[in-house]
């Protein structure tokens, strides 16, 4: 079972107590009535789907019930850090070893095996 550190409870708690709640740090436009449909679409529907570090909102729904933010590596599913809601997006630099995992070697990255299409 994955353990997730809740910044409000101050300890690691089992994953089943949490819910993921989409991408973090999405600013709601202040002039909602004036923006174009395209701008609204970008705010409301379009989300990043990065390979590597992503910032997500999580909720400790079966615990303190608070929303907080987490930085997660989508390749390793490792939660790199969690922090309270409202704090600015932290600067995350992955260590070399983890970075290597996020680089897709593709087919060219391995030598051909017998039976491979040339």
């Amino acid at each position: 079972m994955l353990l997730i550190h809740c910044p409000y409870c101050g300890e690691e708690r089992p994953e089943v107590e949490f819910r993921q709640s989409g991408e973090a740090h999405i600013a709601r436009p202040q002039n909602m009535a004036d923006i174009t449909d395209e701008e609204f679409e970008a705010f409301f529907f379009l989300r990043d789907n990065p390979k590597g570090v992503t910032f997500e909102r999580w909720r400790h729904v079966h615990g303190c019930a608070r929303f907080f933010n987490a930085a997660r590596d989508t390749v390793t599913d490792k939660i790199l850090m969690t922090y309270k809601a409202g704090l600015p997006k932290p600067d995350i630099t992955l260590p070399e070893k983890t970075l290597a995992l996020t680089v897709d070697p593709g087919v060219s990255g391995r030598s051909l095996l017998p039976g491979d299409a040339k």
């Binding site: 079972m1 409000y8 089943v16 079966h62 615990g63 303190c64 608070r66």
Partner: protein, 181 residues
């Protein structure tokens, strides 16, 4: 004259014991869900006569009233049946929200040397005494239902569960005790 509806307690008097643990239904109790910012805590604690805990996963017991920390601005108060929490807070001017939930919950008592093991059959939290000492409390899960768990003593737990989930929670614990998990 119109007949008034009377409230029936859920699975009243149920009890199961085997081997190292037992589960029983606690008598009815008064409960209050309290939400308030930290600036209001002092005034609320004074009016209630019990200090609201401000540390995560802790509770404070004074006499027969328990105050449980559930979140940074949320507490659950449990007292004997008929205890007037709302009356105590009626004159508090500090900003807060208090909702009587006496009849929303039922409580199960899980006792005995195997109590923590029985709960851990469905509760994912670490119930070792070092991680969850007497007095510790937390909202968490047990099987498919959300519970509020309060450790009264090393071998005694109070499980607060929503009323309609109480038969499920009781059966779950009965099964866990039966199998001595």
């Amino acid at each position: 004259m119109a007949e008034t509806a009377s409230r029936l307690p859920v699975i009243a008097g149920a009890r199961y014991a085997k081997g190292r643990a037992s589960v029983s239904v606690a008598p009815p109790a008064a409960r209050l869900s309290l939400r308030a910012p930290s600036e209001s805590v002092a005034a609320l604690s004074k009016a209630l006569g019990v200090a609201l805990p401000e540390k995560p996963k802790t509770s404070i017991t004074k006499g027969d009233v328990h105050a449980l920390w559930l979140g940074p601005d949320e507490w659950l108060l449990i007292g004997p049946d008929g205890h007037d929490f709302a009356g105590a807070l009626a004159k508090v001017a500090a900003f807060h929200s208090a909702v009587d939930i006496s009849h929303r919950n039922a409580a199960l008592m899980v006792e005995g040397a195997g109590a923590a093991d029985a709960l851990n059959a469905g509760c994912p939290q670490d119930l070792n005494l070092s991680a969850f000492p007497a007095g510790a409390c937390s909202r968490t899960l047990m099987g498919k239902t959300e519970i509020v768990l309060l450790r009264l003593a090393e071998h005694a737990f109070r499980v607060e569960v929503w009323r309609s989930f109480a038969p499920y929670a009781f059966d779950f614990l009965e099964d866990a005790i039966k199998r001595d998990w």
